[in-house]
Symmetry: C2
Subunit: 440 residues, 2 copies
C-alpha cells in the first residue's frame, strides 16, 4: 500500500445485553440480543460487506445485580467468534481473554484453533483482570497486585507465542512414508517467574503464523506491556490533544524497544452518531445519553475505576470518601485522576460521580460530511491508525457505512476492496518467523 | 417414547490427524483433515441427516514426536463445536474438556455459551487428566494423584452446575421498566475442598437448563463419579459379557444413589466395519489393522496406560519391566491388567505389547444384516443404550448410514425422524430444575 489508510474495527454491540440505553425497549432489538448468535453474525457480515478490518468482542468475568445491564448476560468471546468465523471470509475476529485466569496452554490452543477455523483471521485482546469480584470467581480472595499482574501478562504472552511456534511450517510433509518430520516439532520448555510450560502445542502453525496480539494499555505498566507485545492497540477516546499524545507515546516506546512503529496499529475507541444535520445528530446524541441517565447505575459503573468498589455505602452529599488505597491497589489511572479532581475541587461523592459521567458528545457526531471530515482530520493529525467504532443497533452501523464510509473512500482514506484474506494482511503486519526455522 | 430405541453418536473421525491408519495416503482424505473445519461440518451434517443423537469430540492436551499421529494436530473441542453448531440444527454436540486444568467458571461459561449458540445441543464430556506430560503443560511436575483427581472432578462438576443456575429462567422480564429482576440472580458462594467460587455466572440459563454431562468411567473411582454426575456415559468396548456387566453395574450404582437409571444413557464405543459380505468385511477389518501395524507406534501408545511412560528405554526381549508404581499412581485399570497378565504369563515386553495390541475385529464387522443383527442382539441383551460409532472416512460413515441404519429402523430400533431439537430431548433426559426456583 503506498498511502496510509484508516483501519476500521467494529466493536460488537449488544455484547452484554440490550439493557444499556434501555435498548430492550426498542422493537428492532431482540430482548436476548446479547446471547443471540444470529445478532453477531449479522453484525459481522455487515461489517465485512463494508470492508472493515475486524470485529472486536469485549469481555468481563464478573457481575452482580447492581452491574450495568450491558454486562449481565454475554457469550464467551471465543465460542462466539468461532461460530461467526464460518459465516464470514475476510473480516478479522478479535476476542478478549484474560491472561490472569486462563493458562497459556489453553489460550494458545484456543486462539490457534480460531485462526485455523477462520483461515487466518484471529486476534487475541490480552487483558489483565483487576477486580476482587472476578478473582473470587477463580478461587482467590484478592486479585493479584498490579505489578505482578502486568509482569505475568508479559510472560503469559511470551509463552503463548512460544507454543504457537511448536510446529515448523513444513512439519507435516505427508509425502512418501513420512507424515510428520519429528525434527520439526519443538518443545518450549519454558521456566519463568510466573509460568512453567513444557509444550509442545498439539496444533500446527496457524495461517497467520501467530494470531495477532491486541492490548489496551493506559497506565505506565499497561503502555509498556503494549509497547512490548501489542500489534494492535485499543486506545481510549478523549480530546484530539490527548489521543495524539497517547499515539506518539506508544509509537515512541515501541521504537525504543527496536520495533517498527508501523507494526503497532492503534485503534481509537469511537461511538459515531450520524444524522441528517449536525444539529439533529447532537440532539440524537443527547437522547441516547438521557435514555440511560440513571444515577444508581452510574454509581455502580463509577465503582469499577476502583476495582468494582461499592460506593452506595457512602453518603452521597458528604465529601468524596477516602478510597486512595483502592486506586493504588488496582493501579487504575482513572481512579487516581478521580481522587485528584475530587480533592482539589472539594467535591461531594454525588458531584464527583456527575462530573465524571456528564454528557459529552462523541467528537464524531454530526452530519455525514462533518463526521468524515473530523475522522480525516484526526487521522491526519496522528490521533490514530484506525477507529474501533461502536453503535447501538444495526441501523446505526448501516447509516455510518452508507453515509460516512464512502466519503472516506472518495478521499482515498479507506479501502474500496479487500486486498487480503487475513487480519495480518489487512493491518499490514508481517507473519512472524517461526523461532525454530532457520534460513537454509 | 413407548419402546426403547438405540441412540447413535458419531465419534468424529480424523480428530488428531490423518496419520492414523496411514489415512493421509488415501486421496479421499485431506492431509490436514484434523484441522479442517469443513471436514467436521461435513461429518456433523451427514450424521444429522442420518438422525444421530450427537457428534462427539475427543481430546488430549499433550504430545511428543513419538505419539500416534492421530494425536498430533487437533482443534480445541469447543472452538470446533461452536463452528459446527451454526451449520446444524438437531444433532447434539458433545465436547471433551478436562476438569483438571480448566477452572469451573470458564468451563461453565464456555459450555453454556455453546448451549445458547446451538439452541440446546451442548454436552460436556468430563475427563480428568492423568499424565505427567499434560501436567507439565500446566506448570506442574507431577499430575494430581488419583483420588484427588476424582474428588476434584466431582466437586468441579457440582460447581459448574451451580453456576449454570445463576439466573432463574424468568430473570429477564424485559417488560415495563424492568429489564432484570435482581431477585432472580443468585451468587453460588461455593467453598469446598478443591474450589472456592462465588459467582454468579454472567450468562443466563441455557435452552437445556444445563448442558448434558458425559463421562467415561472405568475404574472404581471413575464408575462412582459417573454414577454421581453422568447423564451420558462413554463405555469401553469389549465382549458382550463384559459390556453387559459394565452396563448393569453403572445402572445399579446410579439407582443406589437415588437416580433414575434411565437418566444415565450408556454409549458403547464401536468401530463398525461394513462390507458386501461377512468375509469381505473381515478382510477389510484386517487391512485396516495392517495399515497401521507399526511396532514403534504401538509401543508409544502402549505407554499411555502408564501415564505416557516411555517404554522404548527397555530391552524389548527382557521380562516385562517393573512399572507397578506407574500403574498404581495413575490408577489405570488397564495398566494393572497389563502387569497382571505379563507377570502371570511370564511375558517379555515385546510379547506383552503384542498381546495387548493384537488384531481383534470389532464385533460389529460384517455384511449389513450381520452388523444390524449384532447391534440389535447386544442392545436387547442390555449391553448399551446407544453406540458411539467411529469410522475412518466419510465413505465408511455413509455405508453404515445407508446400509445398516435402515435395518435398525425397520425393526423399530432407531428413530425415523427427530422428535426433539435438543440433546436432552433426543436422550430422554429431563431439564434440571433450577435450584433457586420454587413452585409458587
Amino acid at each position: 500500500m503506498t498511502s496510509r489508510q484508516i483501519r476500521l474495527a467494529l466493536r460488537a454491540y449488544g455484547v452484554g445485553g440490550p439493557g444499556q440505553h434501555n435498548l430492550w425497549k426498542d422493537p428492532r432489538v431482540p430482548k436476548n440480543a446479547s446471547i443471540d448468535i444470529d445478532w453477531y453474525i449479522a453484525q459481522a457480515k455487515a461489517a465485512e460487506h463494508a470492508l472493515f478490518d475486524a470485529l472486536f468482542i469485549v469481555d468481563s468475568q464478573f457481575i452482580d445485580a447492581t452491574y450495568p445491564p450491558h454486562y449481565l448476560n454475554r457469550l464467551e468471546p471465543l465460542t462466539l467468534l468461532s461460530a461467526v468465523a464460518t459465516h464470514t471470509r475476510h473480516i478479522g475476529l478479535v476476542g478478549t481473554l484474560s491472561s490472569t485466569y486462563n493458562s497459556p496452554f489453553n489460550v494458545a490452543r484456543r486462539f490457534a484453533s480460531l485462526d485455523h477455523i477462520s483461515h487466518g483471521r484471529a486476534g487475541w485482546n490480552v487483558v489483565t483482570s483487576f477486580d476482587t469480584g472476578t478473582s473470587r470467581n477463580y478461587g482467590l480472595d484478592e486479585h493479584l497486585d498490579y505489578a505482578t499482574r502486568y509482569g505475568r501478562a508479559l510472560e503469559h504472552v511470551q509463552v503463548v507465542r512460544g507454543l504457537w511456534d511448536s510446529y515448523e511450517d513444513d512439519a507435516f510433509p505427508a509425502a512418501g512414508d513420512v507424515f510428520l518430520d519429528p525434527s520439526k516439532l519443538h518443545a518450549l520448555n519454558h521456566a519463568g517467574e510466573h509460568f512453567r510450560v513444557d509444550g509442545p502445542l498439539n496444533l500446527s502453525r496457524s495461517p497467520q503464523g501467530q494470531p495477532v496480539i491486541f492490548q489496551a494499555g493506559v497506565s505506565e505498566e499497561g503502555r509498556n506491556l503494549a509497547a512490548h507485545v501489542a500489534e494492535g492497540i485499543y486506545a481510549p477516546g478523549g480530546t484530539l490533544e490527548a489521543t495524539r499524545e497517547y499515539y506518539a507515546d506508544i509509537k515512541r516506546r515501541a521504537a525504543a524497544l527496536g520495533r517498527d512503529p508501523d507494526h503497532v496499529v492503534i485503534f481509537l475507541g469511537a461511538q459515531p452518531v450520524v444524522a441528517g444535520t449536525d444539529e439533529e445528530a447532537l440532539r440524537l446524541s443527547r437522547e441516547i445519553f438521557e435514555a440511560d441517565n440513571d444515577f444508581g447505575r452510574k454509581l455502580g459503573q463509577f465503582g469499577r475505576a476502583f476495582g468494582a468498589h461499592d460506593f452506595s455505602q457512602y453518603d452521597l452529599d458528604a465529601p468524596f470518601p477516602d478510597v486512595a488505597h483502592l486506586a493504588e491497589k488496582s493501579g487504575r489511572t482513572r481512579g487516581t485522576e478521580i481522587i485528584r479532581r475530587a480533592t482539589s475541587e472539594g467535591l461531594t461523592l454525588r458531584e464527583t460521580v456527575l462530573a465524571f459521567t456528564r454528557y459529552q458528545p462523541s467528537p464524531f457526531t454530526g452530519a455525514p460530511d462533518t463526521v468524515a471530515a473530523t475522522i480525516a482530520a484526526w487521522f491526519e493529525a496522528g490521533a490514530f491508525d484506525g477507529l474501533n467504532v461502536g453503535f447501538r443497533t444495526h441501523e446505526d452501523l448501516s447509516r455510518f457505512v452508507a453515509d460516512v464510509v464512502p466519503l472516506l473512500q472518495k478521499q482515498g482514506l479507506f479501502r474500496t476492496g479487500y486486498e487480503h484474506d487475513t487480519l495480518r494482511g489487512h493491518l499490514g503486519l508481517p507473519i512472524p518467523a517461526n523461532r525454530w526455522s532457520v534460513a537454509s
